[in-house]
Symmetry: C2
Subunit: 145 residues, 2 copies
Amino acid sequence: MESCVPPGFRFHPTDEELVGYYLRKKVASKKIDLDVIRDIELYRIEPWDLQERCRIGYEEQNEWYFFSHKDKKYPTGTRTNRATMAGFWKATGRDKAVYDKSKLIGMRKTLVFYKGRAPTGQKTDWIMHEYRLESDENGLPQAST
Amino acid sequence: MESCVPPGFRFHPTDEELVGYYLRKKVASKKIDLDVIRDIELYRIEPWDLQERCRIGYEEQNEWYFFSHKDKKYPTGTRTNRATMAGFWKATGRDKAVYDKSKLIGMRKTLVFYKGRAPTGQKTDWIMHEYRLESDENGLPQAST
């Protein structure tokens, strides 16, 4: 990415940019200007291993961006599996609407990582924002931070 | 600049990038990848007019970046004129060294804007960082925030 972005620029996208540009393009399999958001399989990676996988350049980061397909809990169901080997992601609070001007384009879910197995487990400081498109073409891929 | 920088990137340069890349290139009259730092005559502009002149894209900003030549107080002297029509910039604290790894490449002076005329004047919330190269080719142009 050094090839395109001049010195001094940092990746600090807004929710609207993540949903309206990055996630929308990804879902539509369109070209994204700069391959700055990695594809991963979130439920095979522990949060502390994300840094290595989602590094952008040589910056110190405390946020990481990635695309991941939702993993179903049961093959025929609609429930999402959010467990990893070491723990699980649990939703917290309400989903937040993401707008492009006044048009609803997506939703942002906030999740916290717990070590161990539900319904017990030890809360950690790891927070994830899971974005989804809010429209008919509401697909599986997601961009998260 | 929209032509080059993908969505989600913001201009948040480090001191090292401002001095080691932007100011160094400017002083050497070399090409800068992206014309993101404006040329102005600082002592003809009040701080509250900078926003309009140094805007980057359509972002909300609370920092502005520019190049400006030093204005001498007296044609033959070395003292710097830092007065505008409405007030003056006054240095505060010590200059901070700017390093590229362990090599000293520049200095950063912090100044506060006072309305009125020295030695009186009313302190404002406007802060400026004035960068200079620290080397033999230590020229006049400066990048400031």
